[in-house]
């Protein structure tokens, strides 16, 4: 994917958005560590798709991004690991802070960001030309990271992804010889191998059957004990099962916005905004 050099900088210099306060679940918990976003706007050419998203993601927790389709949740996810910029017409405003450092800063290496912020996609995509073992370690090879004990890392990642028992005897089989749910867990193991601080998941279970979905959800909950997870999901029951915090995205025909963000229990039982209540009770979306 070639980076388009077309610049959308207009004559107007950047303005700091006025009168916006960040949504944080607890400022003390987040502090200087963790993932924070400030005033995120996203455009595709002139088309404004996300407006003023300010979310803080507490460490070692799962935050679910919920809302009807087309509100920009997946786009927002891609802003978090600098994958948004692969689209030629992409433009943005605002800041994203990871452990206090702005990831869009002028000297920041995008590939280094992606090593710290991993992503699992909607459709499982293991590399078919590699074996299961090679798939898990692919991130190390691509980023030229030297690891002394590859085998124990391999086992650790597959264990954490909940796949070790099922594949430990056929690590040399092709990556695409597994079932859909197993492939997705392989992709999770692959993402874990480079030891990210944050794991982004874009509807990771929507292409899976219910049994595999349950297994992946178990994995997500276990992983959240030592990493920050942000998961986009259309399935509200899944959000209720898996996430500690939820952010509700909505678009009224214009750019998407965060309507409300709070602990999952609050969002589902006593949301503040009427629109949240409507969505959560299934009246639309």
């Amino acid at each position: 994917m070639a980076n388009d050099e077309n610049d959308l900088i207009t004559g107007v210099s950047a303005q700091v958005p006025i009168a916006v306060s960040a949504v944080s679940f607890d400022s003390e918990v987040v502090g200087e560590q963790g993932l924070r976003t400030q005033g995120i706007h996203v455009w595709f050419a002139k088309h404004h798709v996300l407006e003023d998203v300010c979310l803080d993601f507490p460490a070692n927790s799962v935050t679910g991004l919920i809302g009807p389709s087309g509100c920009g949740k997946s786009t927002f996810l891609r802003v978090l690991n600098r994958m948004h910029e692969f689209i030629p017409t992409a433009a943005m405003a605002g800041e994203v802070f990871l452990d206090g450092e702005e990831i869009y800063g002028p000297k920041v290496d995008a590939t280094a960001v992606r090593l710290k912020v991993g992503m699992v996609f909607q459709k499982p995509n293991p590399f078919p030309s590699m074996t299961i073992a090679q798939n898990v370690l692919a991130g190390l090879k691509l980023a030229n990271i030297k690891v002394l004990d590859k085998d124990s890392l391999l086992e650790e990642c597959l264990m954490r992804a909940g796949l070790w028992k099922e594949v430990k005897d056929r690590l040399k089989a092709s990556g695409s010889s597994l079932s859909g749910g197993q492939q997705q867990r392989l992709c999770i193991a692959r993402a874990l191998a480079v030891k990210p601080k944050v794991l982004l998941m874009d509807e990771p279970c929507s292409a899976l059957d219910p049994a595999s979905t349950l297994k992946v959800e178990e994995t997500i909950v276990q992983l959240s004990s030592d990493m920050t997870i942000v998961i986009v999901t259309h399935n509200m029951q899944q959000a209720a099962r898996v996430s500690d915090y939820c952010a509700f995205f909505l678009s009224d025909g214009g750019p998407g916005q965060v309507v409300e963000a709070d602990r999952t229990a609050v969002i589902f039982s006593s949301p503040t905004d009427a629109r949240t209540a409507d969505y959560v009770q299934g009246r639309f979306g």
Binding site: N3, V12, V23, D52, Y104, D262
Partner: protein, 353 residues
């Protein structure tokens, strides 16, 4: 712990869109030093060692640019270094591949232009000999001959090509898989073998002629027309055919009145592409239409000139003026093919990536 919910008050000013990942200054700062170093090393090596002129410069430039980008990439890490080096290598490969073609275009039109004069397109070589200067003689016979041969070839190849495509997509005959294989095989016939075949069948009995040349070219033209036409006909949506059949139309009427007209521009493209492919073929013409220096419209019983043969003849003659005339013929031939290509694209029935 309670949550602090945002007061999403109407933001007074929406910030302007930016692309913070585009860092022109950084990328310039990365490449320019490597470029300068590379040029320096290349110049030095040409002057100091025995490496000859432009090629030596180019090769050392590329190699030193490669090394310099790799080293500058090491400033970050080895992955970046390799990435930069590969980007340089691939770009260099691309440029290197293009240089000869640019040279061809340049040479053909520059040297060919020296053969051009006012009478070049209206005179033939009947009375001019190879040594006569460039203000005499011309290639009218070659142009006319080529046009005639290509016209006859088209009259054969285009209908048969389209009929074959119709067989595959409309009639959907039982043998259509086999027919596609046959078309594939025909496109693999070497041009000289097509010429050889027509030589065996026609020329050995009737001598060289324009018709023989056209027959040989049509063998080479048909597969291109058939394959492109098939793709174009497949693009015609089935709903159109269904609508026609539902109205009670026969397959014949549907094909002639709905499908073919819908695909018309694509079929024109197919024909132009087929023509462009064979317009420059020399080998089959050597064996079938051969060459004559005289302007003629006679397609049977005697050899007929053509642009490729004009170029070939002048090349084998070998004198300076003959070679310049060869370039002139090449320029006209290339011009003709480019025009055909542009016409094919303009009638753009096929969507290209």
């Amino acid at each position: 712990m309670s949550a602090v919910i945002a007061e999403n008050s109407a933001v007074a000013a929406v910030p302007s869109p930016k692309k913070p990942w585009v860092n022109r200054r950084e990328s310039v700062r990365d490449t320019v030093p490597s470029l300068i170093i590379a040029v320096g090393v290349a110049v030095a090596s040409v002057l100091l060692t025995g490496l000859a002129g432009p090629l030596g410069f180019y090769v050392t430039f590329v190699i030193s640019f490669l090394v310099a980008s790799f080293v500058s990439g090491l400033r970050h890490d080895s992955v970046k270094a390799i990435d930069k080096a590969m980007a340089t290598l691939i770009t260099a490969g691309f440029v290197t591949a293009f240089i000869p073609w640019v040279s061809i275009l340049f040479t053909v039109f520059k040297r060919g232009a020296s053969a051009f004069y006012l009478g070049y397109f209206t005179n033939d070589m009947a009375v001019t000999s190879a040594d006569d200067d460039l203000g005499m003689g011309g290639l009218s016979h070659a142009i006319v001959g080529s046009v005639i041969i290509l016209a006859i070839a088209s009259l054969i190849a285009i209908p048969f090509g389209i009929i074959t495509a119709v067989y595959i997509t409309e009639v959907k005959g039982r043998l259509r898989g086999l027919v596609r294989v046959m078309v594939q095989s025909m496109s693999g016939v070497p041009s000289v073998v097509a010429g050889l075949f027509i030589y065996a069948v026609v020329v050995s009995k009737f001598g060289f002629s324009g018709v023989a040349g056209a027959l040989a070219l049509s063998i080479l033209m048909l597969p291109t027309v058939a394959r492109t036409a098939e793709e174009v006909l497949k693009l015609v949506p089935d709903d159109l055919r269904s609508a026609a059949y539902a109205l009670g139309a026969s397959q014949t009427a549907t094909t002639f009145r709905i499908v073919l007209p819908t695909a018309r521009s694509g079929l024109i493209t197919a024909s132009m592409l087929g023509l462009a492919r064979v317009a420059g073929e020399t080998a089959p013409l050597i064996l079938t239409a051969f060459y004559s220096a005289i302007f003629s419209l006679k397609v049977t019983g005697q050899p007929l000139a053509s642009l490729p043969m004009y170029v070939y003849q002048n090349f084998t003659t070998g004198t300076d003026t003959a070679l310049t005339r060869a370039w002139g013929g090449a320029a006209v031939l290339l011009g003709m093919i480019f025009i055909l290509f542009i016409l094919a694209r303009l009638s753009g029935g096929r969507s290209r990536r």
